[in-house]
Subunit: 268 residues, 2 copies
DNA sequence: AAGTGGTCTAGACCACCAT
DNA sequence: TGGTGGTCTAGACCACTTC
């Protein structure tokens, strides 16, 4: 019976904190394999269920990543995604030196009759108008980080499905349809990844996520996209800017970045 | 041994789904008390640990709320908060017919030497400048929904601490200091509520949250606030707008709202 | 005083994965 | 084939809430 670290705090939380400290201190570097639940149980003299509870906390907090039903590994730093940037996820990842990817799950044209009212309303569709429905799993350096469930008015983007839909869709819209995303209204919700999406993404169920419903507009205020995105909260850090001249914000961004780096260094 | 509902899906998840359906169907209305873990265990012929796992899922998903160490109750609908609106949380809640409140945790003046580099950088402080440090728990209809940990340059807001800091701080800045929030840069992170903040807020640990680091600017691009906010993800729905003329967005907002109501009705 | 949630144990079986 | 995570059990003790 090894003595427990601090009193009055549950054991599973103490164990989680200890592992978290080892990760922050670099003793367990990124991609290092975490001890198995049974090993942890023996090492700390606790039951496996208690060790498992500790691991669960770390996984939900994004400090470790479970791959399939296999062991857990120390997570790489989170990816950054600017919600208010006109550039899509694909372009932002590439600029950051990350290899973006997409796995096409669904690509279909839906006739007007098959559309739910929310799509019709969000895209302000005329009677009879059909839409393209595209579902993709987005990856960063091969790791699944999001799913996008998007709808585009077919009359705006003829033959959209013939393009390579694993590329940046916003890039396609720009290059071939001269559509420039100019604004959006988004609704954000913190949620847990449900079993169906978890399976599609190939990641663990119940991961905390940022769920976004987005209506995107052209400069002429034509809604050209309605999307339902789910981003892994354990793997992504989000940026958002409101108002303010872009030039200034670009400058302050660096300062901001510095400040946050210091935050990290403090070890919050 | 009562037969299990559907095959191949863990029991605790089936029980959670069943309770979730009862909530969505209105059989369990808002504020209704959920059966105790032992009652559920007996009713479904499962162990208490399994029943507890089901309850945990519902709590993290925001369908039920635990009060202290007491029983769980069906949650009220989530509050809405527009991240890109210049109006603060206080004003937005009031407009929505919700009673906003704040509990002052800390109100102090910090000398320059006591400041962390991140505060100095974010507020672009001159050597020797001091700041006001204010920590508040924000409530909606008496329910704790967020904590705000904010820093204001003292030279911009002399005697700020003498005001009633349970009112809207942005309101105070407007009325008495003629400072109009004009823009912000925010960094958002999905996280789980840690034990310290959970205790300060008086809610359960490990609730999914939206954590925000914010640098707010005046129309003259003077950073007047640096804040670290933590919002309960299980109780708040967030809105964000990027670009686009306000008039148009105001109009489309209603359409958007309708679309989301339909989404809810679909029972996602 | 009784009931409740929070924690913890020492087992168990299974499906899946790597070897 | 052996180890692993995922699930589940039938208990237990404690602190706290509720009555």
């Amino acid at each position: 019976m090894p003595e427990t670290r601090t009193p009055n705090r549950p054991i599973y939380r103490q164990v989680a904190e200890q592992i978290a400290e080892e990760i922050k201190a670099g003793i367990l570097p990124a991609d290092a394999r975490i001890s198995s639940e049974r090993e942890l149980a023996e090492r700390y003299g606790i039951s496996r269920m208690t060790a498992r509870a500790a691991i669960n906390i770390l996984a939900q907090r994004g400090l470790i990543v479970r791959r399939n039903r296999s062991r857990a590994y120390v997570a790489q730093p989170k990816f950054r995604f600017d919600l208010s940037s006109p550039g899509g996820l694909h372009e932002q990842l590439r600029k950051a030196g990350v290899e973006p990817g997409a796995k096409l799950i669904t690509a279909e044209m839906l006739p007007y009759d098959a559309l739910s009212p929310k799509v019709v309303q969000a895209l302000v569709l005329d009677e009879g108008a059909s839409v393209y429905h595209i579902v993709r799993v987005r990856t960063a350096n091969g790791e699944p980080i999001a799913v996008e469930d998007s709808y585009f008015p077919a009359h705006l983007f003829p033959d959209l499905l013939d393009f390579n839909l694993t590329d940046s869709i916003y890039g396609i819209l720009r290059k071939y349809f001269a559509v420039e995303p100019a604004g959006s209204v988004q609704e954000l919700e913190i949620s847990l990844l449900d079993a169906e999406w978890a399976e599609i993404m190939g990641v663990a169920v119940d991961l905390p996520t940022l769920e976004i419903w987005r209506q995107a507009f052209t400069a002429d205020n034509i809604p050209f996209e309605f999307a339902h995105d789910i981003y892994r909260g354990d793997r992504i850090l989000f940026i958002a800017r409101t108002a303010g001249p872009e030039s200034f914000l670009a400058g302050s961004g660096q300062l901001w970045q510095q400040a946050l780096d210091n935050l990290q260094a403090d070890g919050a």
